[in-house]
């Protein structure tokens, strides 16, 4: 039987600093889509609370507890990240393992918003995209989840199959921004 070797979307420990932004490969741990069945939203949230200590997030929000985070990712959908899902969640929601489907990066630094402004058509000013926000939009032509994970830090999750393009787009934007004439 063929031995399959898992390969990460980015080189382990990848880190690039260009101008005022540092780009790092993010370790997500397990990624699980939770899609509550009709009428089961509250029950799912309660089950999440019991099992992992966090609630099912409201639209545009993220919840977290310890290693576990739950990122809203669309209509009736959130991504549970960092922990293996408790089997009891499946009583209230479709629970789908997606660990191999996603690639995540974090952007840190003063110019994070300026870099993302090159690629994402959404208002990412602090008042509109505050700490704890998790939104869905496009980055270039790719669909992504964007989560504000720190005052000057944003986590970007894109599809695993597009990881190279995601990295390329971000590096391109960072390079062009850093090369701008000052003043």
């Amino acid at each position: 039987m063929v031995e399959l070797t898992a390969s990460a979307p980015f080189d382990a420990g990848m880190e690039r600093t260009i101008g005022a932004v540092t780009l790092r490969a993010a370790e997500t741990g397990p990624v699980t889509a939770l899609m509550p069945y009709a009428g089961q939203e509250r029950a799912l949230s309660a089950a999440l609370e019991r099992a992992h200590g966090l609630e099912f997030p409201a639209a545009g929000r993220m919840t977290s507890a310890g290693q576990a985070r739950c990122l809203w990712s669309g209509l009736d959908q959130a991504m549970l990240i960092g922990v293996e899902p408790d089997p009891a969640l499946a009583d209230h929601a479709a629970v789908v393992a997606q660990s191999d489907g996603w690639a995540a990066l974090t952007l840190t630094g003063d110019a994070v918003a300026d870099v993302l402004a090159r690629l994402v058509p959404v208002d990412l000013r602090p008042a509109a995209f505050e700490q704890g926000a998790s939104i869905r939009s496009e980055l270039g032509h790719m669909m992504v989840i964007l989560a504000r994970t720190g005052p000057q830090q944003v986590t970007v999750m894109g599809f695993r199959s597009m990881a190279g393009t995601l990295l390329h787009e971000l590096e391109n934007a960072m390079t062009a921004l850093a090369a701008r004439p000052k003043g």
Binding site: G74, L75, R136, E138
Partner: protein, 87 residues
């Protein structure tokens, strides 16, 4: 244009896909007859003015929306989740 997604807030229409007049939600019964089905599939009021349309927020939350809009001024009056419009 910007569409007010009930879940994601105000977003550029580049994130959405237009589908057509919201009459598509009122599917005739299978035995409603050729006239009703012709009307449903092919004929359109095509108003120059206020209209209601289906848009899909494909690069956002993935919801189908019913958007109220003016086809002459491009003014957008509001948007609701299509599943709530259809009960």
């Amino acid at each position: 244009m910007r569409l007010p997604c009930p879940l994601c807030g105000s977003r550029d229409h580049r994130e959405f896909t237009y589908q057509g007049a919201a009459v598509m939600l009122d599917r005739p019964a299978p035995d409603a007859g050729a006239e009703a089905w012709d009307s449903y599939v092919h004929l359109r009021d095509n108003p120059a003015g206020a209209t209601r349309e289906l848009w899909y927020h494909g690069a956002g939350c993935g919801a189908w929306l019913v958007v109220a809009r003016d086809t002459v001024t491009h003014a957008v009056f509001g948007a609701e989740l299509a599943r709530q419009v259809r009960r």
